[in-house]
């Protein structure tokens, strides 16, 4: 799983929701992309899957 340009190895067979929890990443502030496609938090990760976390929260002036 790639988050902020860092790679994290996670066990196969867990759901995306659990993977985010293990990395301490909020599902509210990230989208999960697998092979260029968005996936939902109930998807079960398979061995060899490469997952990218896309941060979605911007800050600054109104």
């Amino acid at each position: 799983m790639i988050h902020r340009r860092k790679e994290h190895l996670l066990p196969a067979g867990i759901r995306v929701r659990k993977a985010l929890e293990m990395l301490g990443v909020s599902p509210e502030s990230h989208l999960v992309v697998h092979n260029g496609k968005l996936i939902t938090e109930d998807v079960i990760l398979q061995a060899g899957d490469v997952i990218r976390l896309v941060p979605v929260i911007s800050g600054g002036s109104q």
Binding site: S29, L31, T40, D42, I57, S58, G59, G60, S61, Q62
Partner: protein
């Protein structure tokens, strides 16, 4: 998880609506919800020309894309703030906006802050007491001035920005913590135009930030993913983080907070007519743009201060 409409695998789950959709149905849903928001709040009317403020980021390019698909006549405005961090942030975001406009044959107006006013945003911020600690405040002043000026000069009826529900909820939280009645009374999806101020509208005010990002990704729109280097540690990010922690435990919290505020606002401020009762404005003797206090406006003071130094 299956798409509620077609039972194919869903690609996006909107927990606050208990709704999961496939790519095709999500994109349709998003465009239709934007159209409904525009109609619901009277943001734009047939025949009006729209100016969209685009930053090159996911939200503003998504908004321009949706308006284009809905056949609204919308031109873009990009303001190059002259911000450079580890990457040439402003130049890269300008490039994203230019590519987007070129691919769709849309008009994009570009204002270079440094060329127009002699200083970039970091330079302007550095030279003021307020901006040294809070460049975002200086940036907001400059952008509001340029956006209104560009909309007036171009004869546009409405200026649209891509503020989403997370932006609005974070502002609401900040204004509630300070009990800033003046700002609370004026926080609205649409601010009517008056006395030289062009109408402002936020068609994405009912979307979560993750939902606008999902639209941009699913539509294949190339946007600048890097954040403004000055946004790190900003108050708005802190408020968003607090709200998202509540949202994770109780989906729908942010939506309820914002929408019930919009209802409560009418009871809390029954005498507030957004067209008339907000702060009186006067034309700035220097630039002619409306300002809430008599005399030189904050933008001219800012630019004048920096140019004098």
């Amino acid at each position: 998880m299956k798409c509620r409409k077609c039972r194919q695998p869903a690609v996006h789950h909107l927990r606050q609506h208990r709704l999961a959709l496939c790519r095709e149905h999500y994109l349709d849903w998003f465009v239709e919800q934007t159209r409904r928001t525009i109609v619901r709040y009277g943001m734009s009317f047939p025949g009006e020309r729209i100016l969209v403020a685009v930053s090159g980021g996911k939200d503003s390019l998504a908004l321009w894309d949706v308006l284009w698909r809905l056949d609204f006549p919308a031109d873009g405005l990009y303001i190059n703030l002259g911000i450079r961090g580890e990457i040439p942030y402003s130049d890269q975001s300008q490039q994203s906006a230019e590519i987007f406009a070129r691919e769709r044959n849309l008009n994009l107006k570009i204002v270079q802050v440094e060329e127009s006013y002699g200083k970039s945003i970091p330079q302007l911020a550095e030279q003021t007491r307020q901006g040294k600690d809070r460049p975002c405040a200086v940036c907001g002043t400059v952008k509001r001035h340029i956006m209104n000026q560009a909309a007036r000069d171009g004869g546009y009826s409405v200026l649209m920005t891509a503020h989403n529900l997370d932006d609005e909820a974070a502002v609401l939280l900040g204004n509630s913590l300070n009990w800033n009645f003046d700002l609370l009374a004026r926080q609205s999806p649409v601010l009517p135009g008056r006395d030289g101020l062009v109408r402002k509208a936020k068609p994405f005010c009912r979307f979560y930030e993750r939902d606008t990002a999902a639209y941009t990704l699913l539509r294949g729109i190339a946007y600048i993913e890097e954040e403004c280097p000055f946004s790190e540690g900003s108050q708005s990010l802190y408020y968003k983080d607090v709200l998202n922690r509540m949202e994770a435990d109780r989906p729908g919290t942010k939506l309820q907070y914002y929408l019930t505020f919009l209802q409560a606002r009418q009871q809390l401020f029954p005498n507030t007519n957004l067209e008339e009762a907000t702060t009186a404005v006067h034309p700035c003797p220097s630039c002619g743009q409306p300002t809430s206090s008599a005399g030189i406006c904050s933008f001219c003071r800012l630019v004048g201060t920096s140019l004098d130094n």
